[in-house]
Structure formats: structure tokens, C-alpha cells
Symmetry: C2
Subunit: 331 residues, 2 copies
């Protein structure tokens, strides 16, 4: 990265930049911009939300927290094909990363939540995930004196409500941005932040059309697209995507385009997690979505570019959770 | 705590101190001394061990780490009656806290591991816990380039061995001490660190004989004792304790005496986790082990003393785990 850029590399870089400038934008394409850390954070609410995010008492078993599937040690996901919930039950979908998730235009693969707070309300009560109920979760929190005080401080209300729980979790999640990737450094003017090889991958990413869907600050997360445009995709997941929400036949196999930020950490890929590596994922996307078979060299360039999208991971101090008073065995 | 100690309280305190000085020591009783943070830590090994401690890839499911049952957000334990492992399977025993665990003379309730490193080797391969095998866990680590480098750096060997994994975890666990409890501040000379009420609880703790087993720096963790000396204990756990290791009939229902450090955080109590609150635990211990029914006032004093044993909880920065290369679905 700090290697002196040779004359040859400079030439390649300049030619790449010229090519990019000349590229017409795809319809609806948003500019790729650097990740910006959240600027308006309610610190008290986010600190409370961080506790809740790590608190396994929001689950029936008492061992599953938000962080179990959206693990902040591993790219904000669990790196499993599809997630494992209550009593080892395997779900139908791959866990999307929580990193930069506030940049998604809707939440979940099929977009059934409009924002992070709404998203947070689902896993608590999903029998295949945390398998609790909102009522039992609230009872558990209400029985913890320090939580009662902290909710009172943040929301100025004696009774804890589920929308306060999810608002606090969402406020914490807003802080989970990953700025300062090498690609962002390059966008911000550090011209040696990317190698000529990586830059050529970016050029190919644009020219070949990947950017038609993977655009905006998060390189994705801002549209639904059908999985398998040029070739049908045989999924290992029973989910048919957006059609489950809209009922529209045209939405069959339509999923939210995943963000590519930190993509080297968020394997395996796609809504079914069927693909374990970036080269395989790039190859499949080329064939299925673009009708293009990337050569090994092209594939390697795009993958090299994608690896420059890994930003600074949030540095999280593990919260110390307030003890329950008079604990009994879980229901 | 910072309230000015009144003359009356001083009188009570002095009388308590005099009584303590006069108390004969129980047989084998070790002095209670402040918790001292580890002084000889191999930082590189402990940092590696921290990663491994939080790494769910040491489990078959890919979602259970050491921190699942020995959660550093909740007193180094899971606050469950008995722990939940692979596929939601509930185990036979309450998870002992990892905090100050290096002070235990042996590990596990029945003492079947001599030290922390040996302890760490068991849950990985226990079908009811992480349900992996040492071979599969090593394969998983060996497939992660950054781990290979870090193990090489720390252990100067190309091949990762299970005893290196467990040594590293143990080295991290050595750092999980909780100094600076109010009781330790008092032991170190801050005479207003405890209230007269709390001090009277300490006096009662000594006079009534609790200290006969709960002594040493950790107030326990240094002997086996039979559960139910004066009255038989009807346990909800199938475990018969130390006899499973020694085969000696006299070891039936003999368990390692748990440490009382941070005891207000490590509920529920006893090897079967059958008791949820400190007042219940103190009452039961009095009747079962000492043949003494504490009055409500005595019980409250002892409990007040026990709550002064909560030390500074370790401040853990969540490790960022190295990504796997070419991930496949778990076996």
C-alpha cells in the first residue's frame, strides 16, 4: 500500500480514471461516496442500546443476543450459510451485516421492515430466532432495576415499551459505521491508497455493470433486484423474496441488493449464503445478473477491488450488563 | 459509601474489628486477602487467547464461544440454572464464573481439570457444549491465515496444537481478575469502604463458620466440601460431584466450594443453579452446612457483606476476529 507507485502504474491509474469519468451512469445509479460516521447520535440512547444489543435476556433461552447472529467480532454477521436460532434451529436466510446497516433503504432481504428499529422488533419474537415474546422480553427488562432507571433517564417514562427497546438498539446500530476503507481514502484524494490492479478492478466493476445495482455510499442496499436475470438461480433457500410481502408475481426472487462494504468479512454470500468465497460470488453475479463470464484475471481484479471496501471496524467495549434481581429459571 | 461515618457507626466498626481479631481461625482456613491483578502475563499469548475466547468457530454450530456460557458482560457466567449448549441442549451443571478463575485450586465443580488450560480443552469437544472435536477445531483455525501467523508468532511453530489453543485461552483468562471491590478497599485500609451493617455481616460470616470453607483471596475455590453436611440436599442435578472422579463413596455430593467474589453477579447459585437469590442461598447454606437458621436480620447482614465482594469488572474491547479463507458450511 505504501509502495511507491511506479510510472507504469501511474499510467494505468490515469487511464482508469479517464475511463471512469467517461462512463455513463446506469439508470438510477447513485454516486459512490465515502462512508461517513453518524453525526447525530443520542449517546445515552446508544449506550443503552449497546447493552440491549449484547443482552441475551432478550431471548427465551437466555443465551442468544443480537450479537449472536450480527457478531461485531466478525463483520457484523455470523458467517454461517443461514443463521442458527433457538434450540439450534437453522433459519431460511443468511444474516445481513449490521455494519452500516442504517444505509439500507429498507431492512431484511425482502424489505419487510422500513428501518432499524422496526427490524430489531422481529428477531426477539421469531420462534426460529430468539423465540421470545415482546411481553416476556419487557417483563425481563422491567425486572432489572438498573435498566428501569436507564430507560427512565433516556425516555422519561416509568414503563419500558418495546418501541423504546428497539429505538435504543437502532440508535446503537447507527454508530456501527466503518469509515476509512482504502477505497474511501482513495475517494477522498489519497491517490496511492489503491494499487493499479485494484483500480482496474473498480473500472471493470463500473464498466461491466455491477455498479448498476451496487452503488451509493454502501455500494448496494438501495434497491430490490431479481436474483437470476440472465440465468435462473437455483437457490438452497425456500425464500422467494419480495413477493412474500407484495404478492406481486414480478417480485418473485426479488431481494434487496446487499451492500458491498466489508464484503470480504461478510461471507458466505447471497440471501441463501450458498457461496463461500468472493471469486465464486463475482463469477456467479457476472453470469446470473450480467450475462457475462468474467475471465480469471477480470475476476481477480474485481475481487481485489472489493477487498478495498473493508473499513475500520467499530471498536466496541463489551458492556457490563445490569444484574437481574431475584432471578428465576427462564420460562 | 462516601457518607461520613457517624460516631455510632465507628463504635460498631471498632467492636466488629475487635471481634474479628479475637476469632480463632477454622482448620485449614486461609487468610482473606485482596484480589491482585495478574503480574506475569504474556501479552501476545493473552491477546491471541482473547480472540479464541470469543471465537464461535471453536464450536460445531459456529455460534457458541467460551463467552456464550462464561459471558464477560454478566459476571463471567450465563446466569442460567444450568448451561445451554449445542442445539439448545441443557447441561447438568451451573457454569462457574471465569472471573478470578485462576484462583481456583482445581477447575470444574468436581475438580476434573487441574488448571485453566486443561479446563478449556473440555467444552470444545463436549457433545452437550460446543460439540466439536479438537481435530475439527484445529482444522478450522489452521484454515485462517491470520491465526496461523499469530500462533507462529506466539508459539514459534507452524502447526497449531490444541495445547497451544488452551494455553492461550488460559493466559487470557488469567487477566480476568476483579480487584478493587469495596471489601478489598477495606482490607487495604480504607476503613469507610464498608458500612457498619456490612461489617457486621462480615463478622457474622466469620463467627458462624461460613469462612471455614469460603476463605482465601477468592473466598472459596480452594477445597472440596460435601453439599448437605447437617441436612441432606435434594439437588435438581444428576451430578454426584467428586465421586465421579475418585470413585470414593465419601466423595458423594462433594463439590468444589465456589468462590464468592462477585457473587451478586453470578446467580443462580450452587452446582445445580437451583437457588436464584443471595438471601435464599445464605439461608440454605446456613441450614445445610452449618445447622444454623439465620434470622432475617442476620441474613440481610451477610448478604450486604457479600455484595461488597463485587470488584472492577474487566473492561474488554471486543476482538476483531480474522476472517476464514474460502469458508464452507460447517460440518
Amino acid at each position: 500500500m505504501n509502495k511507491k507507485t511506479s510510472g507504469l502504474a501511474w499510467a494505468a491509474l490515469c487511464s482508469a480514471l479517464l475511463a471512469m469519468a467517461a462512463l455513463p451512469k446506469a439508470q438510477g445509479e447513485q454516486p459512490i461516496q465515502p462512508i461517513v460516521p453518524a453525526t447525530q447520535v443520542n449517546i445515552g440512547m446508544a449506550e443503552l442500546g449497546k447493552k440491549l444489543y449484547f443482552d441475551p435476556r432478550l431471548s427465551r433461552s437466555g443465551i442468544i443476543s443480537c450479537n449472536t447472529c450480527h457478531n461485531l467480532s466478525t463483520g457484523g454477521t455470523d458467517n454461517l450459510r443461514t443463521s442458527i436460532g433457538h434450540n439450534g434451529r437453522q433459519g431460511p436466510l443468511n444474516a445481513p451485516t449490521v455494519l452500516n446497516a442504517s444505509l439500507n433503504f429498507v431492512q431484511f432481504w425482502d424489505g419487510h421492515a422500513t428501518d432499524l428499529a422496526e427490524q430489531a422488533s422481529y428477531p426477539i419474537a421469531n420462534p426460529g430466532e430468539m423465540a421470545f415474546t415482546h411481553t416476556l422480553a419487557l417483563n425481563a427488562l422491567q425486572a432489572i432495576p438498573a435498566y428501569r432507571r436507564e430507560f427512565k433517564l433516556v425516555f422519561d417514562q416509568d414503563r419500558i415499551e418495546i418501541n423504546h427497546v428497539t429505538m435504543a438498539i437502532a440508535e446503537f446500530e447507527k454508530t456501527l459505521s466503518t469509515p476509512n476503507s482504502r477505497f474511501d481514502q482513495w475517494l477522498l484524494g489519497k491517490k496511492d491508497a489503491l494499487s493499479a490492479f485494484e483500480l482496474s478492478g473498480y473500472r471493470l466493476f463500473r464498466e461491466s455493470g455491477c455498479i448498476g445495482c451496487h452503488n451509493g455510499a454502501a455500494l448496494g442496499g438501495n434497491s430490490f433486484q431479481r436474483m437470476g436475470i440472465r440465468q435462473p438461480y437455483k437457490s438452497t433457500s425456500p425464500s422467494e423474496g419480495r413477493i412474500d410481502i407484495t404478492g406481486r408475481p414480478s417480485d418473485r426472487f426479488s431481494f434487496k441488493v446487499p451492500m458491498l462494504r466489508n464484503v470480504e468479512l461478510t461471507y458466505p454470500y447471497f440471501h441463501d449464503g450458498a457461496v463461500g468465497t468472493l471469486p465464486e460470488a463475482v463469477d456467479l453475479m457476472g453470469r446470473l445478473q450480467l450475462g457475462r463470464k468474467f475471465t480469471d484475471d477480470e475476476n481477480a481484479r474485481i475481487v481485489a477491488f472489493l477487498r478495498t471496501l473493508t473499513g475500520d471496524q467499530p471498536r466496541i467495549t463489551l458492556p457490563i450488563l445490569p444484574p437481574s434481581a431475584g432471578v428465576k429459571q427462564r420460562p
